[in-house]
Amino acid sequence: MAILDLRQRSGYLFLVVTLGQILLISAQVNTKSGVPVIEKVTFGIFSQVQLGLSHGFSGIRNVWTGYVGLRNLKVENDALKRDLASAQIAVQEQRALADRTRGLERLLELREQVTLKTVAANIIGGAATPDFRTLTIDRGTRDGIRTDMAVIAPAGVVGRLVVPSSRASKVQLLIDRNAAAGAIIERTRAQGVVVGSGDDRLRLEYVSEVADVVAGDVVVTSGIDGIYPKGFVIGRIEQVEKTGGSYKRITIKPAVDFTSLEEVLVVLAPTQRETGEGASE
């Protein structure tokens, strides 16, 4: 009966709900202490739902790829054999090149090298609202994952961990509006900061107007932000505009296709330069 009254007085209900949410916002905006508890609890619960759904979807996909989608297997197999043959040749070439590089390193006494300890993770969900570019992975604190760890893919940098729960974690993609990374242009070593724009492109900011930058240049992480390891590909410069100010306006096409990501690697070890051999999972 009381609920019926409330329904009839929707104006009052609207005021109460609005006021409640304004108070809720006010309480959070003043707080600067990490992740709110309510967010962590909600994410922890919902990540279980995402895990279940992801397993369900992957089951259906496995049935499809394992049984229904085997029609073109012969053609695909032939193509893969050809690819494997050319890849084996490329590996041999790379091995020879690596041997030569190691020899040169020894010659120059460049013993310092970067080693990364990583853990593989599957993507089990995307962003709950399109205004935020995040995704959920199936690894959490029990796998040694912590906030601000870098997330990478074979193609390049994916993002950083923002909310870890015990069995899942939320990753802020580099294309999110609030994401940024220290960057360097591989060819000229000009430094800048890569920031997300909310769509499928990145911006490279704070690059001097006089810096040598052209479309097609590869942008890699500089490592100065303390999150992303140095030398990982961010993307390729798509457009360079002169603004007339102190800095250029540079647009980057990310190396990673964020719409087709299925697996990523979380960098567990610190990103500073280390000496000696490291392990990679």
């Binding site: 409330l6 329904r7 009839q8 929707s10 209900l13 609207f14 709900v17 609005t18 949410q21 304004i22 809720l24 916002i25 959070q28 905006v29 992740v35 709110p36 309510i38 967010e39 909600t42 994410f43 919902f46 739902v49 995402q50 759904l53 992801s54 979807f57 969900g125 995307g126 962003a127 709950a128 609202t129 399109p130 205004d131 935020f132 570019r133 995040t134 995704l135 959920t136 923002v162 909310v163 939320k170 802020q172 509006r177 609030n178 724009s197 909310g198 769509d199 499928d200 964020f258 719409t259 087709s260 990501l261």
Partner: protein, 169 residues
């Protein structure tokens, strides 16, 4: 019973939004399925149900998005309430008026959501006119299609039975 249906619809849209994000977010066009459900519920059930479903859906989205909890909730509460009022005060049964309501609701949602973030200096959106227009169009198309399906489905079985019985005669 209706409340359970609304909560279920919001939960399903939220699950779909997160699991199918790669299909729903393409370049500058990003569909907000949860917002579509809120407007749908508001148009079919009135302002009270609309604002409550908006509040629940928005708060859930906020909690899952590392954002300030309440901003999305407030935006969706307002949208649900106003869409409910539009649904009760005007005849919104044809496709074009429905398209306009979904489009307007998305624009209003974006204004409140982005406006609050800008106002509190928490996040900057630049000039997102194209993004909002793309999202509003996509949401409106999905909303109109959802209404068409919602209206066609209940009578489909009866129509099929009637068609079969006519053939027998």
């Amino acid at each position: 019973m209706k409340a359970i249906g609304v909560i279920l619809a919001v939960a399903v849209s939220l699950a779909l939004q997160t699991t199918a994000a790669r299909f729903l977010v393409r370049g500058s066009v990003a569909v907000d399925l949860v917002l579509v459900v809120v407007v749908y519920v508001a148009l079919t059930s009135g302002p009270a149900t609309g604002l409550l479903s908006g509040a629940i859906a928005g708060l859930a989205q906020d909690a899952l998005s590392s954002s300030v909890i309440g901003i999305g909730g407030l935006a969706k509460t307002l949208v649900g309430f106003l869409a409910g009022i539009v649904g009760t005060q005007f005849i919104v049964t044809a496709s074009i008026p429905r398209f306009v309501v979904f489009f307007g609701a998305t624009v209003l949602h974006a204004c409140v959501f982005m406006g609050l973030y800008e106002l509190l200096d928490l996040r900057h959106f630049g000039t997102p006119y194209a993004v909002v227009a793309g999202q509003a169009t996509a949401n409106a198309v999905i909303g109109v299609v959802a209404f068409q399906i919602g209206e066609l489905l209940p009578g489909a079985v009866e129509r099929r039975r009637a068609g079969k019985s006519r053939l027998r005669r």
